[in-house]
Symmetry: C2
């Protein structure tokens, strides 16, 4: 499959799509390269990585609680002792958390080192691996630290998805749906999106769908890499979604939180008369509710924590809350900065009803 | 004096040149602005800043030992509690250390916030305030952490230099000489550079000379902001200079270390036959040695520490050491990556002789 070439203000880069894992052999031969690998991925694919010598390999405990400057400093320390400085290559293998931590390292060590990234989750393959963002948590604030720095080279290999658990697979579906809704004319093409999701679930055309989802994202970042305008719209489903990840202590994975966040954003749209009730119901019943997959507990939905998290959204600009919503019957998203606390409370009650959470 | 407009891959920005400090009044009225000020500067210029409310002001202990992620995290914490997130403005006031710490914060909080910088040292005004670099120390490694992120707006006001101590003033002269040597044809224009330095010392034409020095730097960064080629040459005097700062425990200020570093680099050039003995002597006697200003102690020159620091230079690419040197009788600099340990030892002994350090 044809590579995707992505332009960036930092440095241009390339995504290669791989049917199997034999490309890893070539990477093992690279000089001055250090591997940082999610320790679970390493266990599952030990055969592929077994030839890396101990002093060139760091295993990462890639959990949300470790997405901090402390983990970053461990990697700095591991890399700084190498003789090669600015011309070192960091090769990281794992999902979004691995990407966030190692991307921050790559961008801030020696003011930027060469970085090769191999995403191993559906979410990282279809979405986060492109777009240049790095993120860390700081104290109770989610993702507030970070910058822009893309890998120099990305290898997407759906082979890795064979060991992914179902919940994380559905997490990827959430973002695929979001990009499809940002791209496709609605309601004309809603059935196309439903078919695509069914195809994904049947393990069909994964590489094609991943590439297509990336292409939608690529269009947006081409003109707004630094997220000062159009790219804001990627936050459709995310303003509430991030808050929900936080409130559930990350029991709800990112993409599923985004799916629920899209339902929430649609409630706000519908209440403001920006999408019709008919559109609202069809999106819920055909596309969003059927793809939540996991059982949602009442304890994940603490209103105070959710409100506090929404207040800490880095997109927030003033007194009220910020949310990206769908507008009209055409799913063109829009950023609102005037979601009042009382409007939040009211729309939030509706969400609990729709999700049947008691 | 006309503003300088600087193009950047991150965001374009502007330098305004100010004869007095009245511009600060306007900044005090900015909404959603937080001031981070070097505590010494605050004490000296309290009158100018006295109207900033306590919750909008953070004083910084701007010493080399505090140029760490720990200081960065204190500022994150102070800023994160504000309601305004991505649209907050950070206004920082101080020298290069203040710039390094607050620039790192501005670039990594909410993936980049608006940042206004007021440099208060000669070095920061004439050199470091433009060029986008941010730097932190990590463990024993100097400046290895950092990225690229310019202020959105810079105000240069030589009024601040009136309270600068002589040693720090000479520190600025070191960088001014370096940029002049990178720019002017030698030996034809050597006397022009000597005159310029004399004018600086007599407090004459400071604003003009600062602007001119900046313009030289601007030329280089216009084509190589991310320091992958031409901009390397700014490290003339710096490879050894950084090591010396470290070995002297920062008793030797940056620009003076750079002046000594230029002498050292010229020894390497001269030994390799890349500059003539005549040029070498004229540079030393007329321009470099007379502007060291401070007394140099033998204890600053521990060969082992110097060698270890040279090894940790982030520009180093392999087994040997890296140094930027002058070439020919025309001071065009060049980066060498093959300075062997034995060559270092030999040229280093010559430096001690020239500096008359026993």
């Amino acid at each position: 499959m044809k590579s995707l070439n992505i332009k960036s203000n930092i440095h241009n880069y390339q995504v290669d799509f791989k049917e199997n894992l034999s490309f890893i052999k070539t990477l093992l031969k690279l000089e001055k390269a250090i591997f940082v690998i999610d320790k679970n991925v390493y266990k599952l694919y030990k055969k592929e990585f077994k030839n890396i010598s101990k002093d060139k390999l760091l295993l990462l405990d890639a959990i949300e609680e470790k997405k901090t400057l402390k983990s970053v400093q461990k990697i700095y320390e591991f890399l700084a002792k190498e003789d090669a400085k600015k011309n070192i290559t960091l090769i990281s293998v794992g999902g979004g958390i691995t990407q966030d931590i190692t991307g921050f390292v790559a961008s801030t060590l020696y003011r930027g080192i060469r970085w090769i990234f191999i995403p191993t989750t559906f979410l990282a393959q279809a979405d986060s691996c492109i777009g240049s963002k790095t993120s860390l948590n700081f104290k109770s604030y989610k993702n507030i630290i970070g910058g822009f720095y893309p890998p120099h080279q990305i290898y997407v290999a759906p082979k890795f998805l064979q060991t992914l658990n179902k919940k994380d697979f559905y997490s990827g579906i959430g973002e695929v749906i979001k990009f499809a809704l940002l791209k496709e004319k609605y309601p004309k093409n809603i059935d196309k999106i439903i078919d695509m999701v069914e195809s994904l679930k049947a393990d069909k055309n994964q590489l094609q769908i991943i590439r297509k989802t990336m292409s939608v994202k690529q269009e947006y970042i081409a003109t707004d890499e630094f997220d000062t305008g159009k790219r804001n719209l990627f936050n459709y489903g995310h303003c509430f979604g991030h808050a929900l990840e936080n409130a559930s202590h990350y029991k709800i994975p990112h993409g599923i939180a985004v799916t629920i966040g899209m339902i929430y954003a649609n409630i706000v749209s519908c209440e403001r008369g920006l999408i019709s009730k008919k559109v609202f119901n069809k999106l819920n019943n055909k596309l969003l509710l059927p793809n939540i997959y996991m059982k949602l507990k009442l304890s994940y939905f603490d209103e105070n924590i959710l409100l506090e998290s929404m207040k800490n959204d880095k997109k927030r600009v003033g007194k009220d809350l910020t949310i990206v919503i769908a507008v009209d019957n055409d799913i063109r998203a829009k950023k609102l900065d005037d979601l009042s606390f009382s409007e939040f409370s009211k729309t939030y009650s509706q969400l609990l009803k729709i999700l049947e959470i008691k």
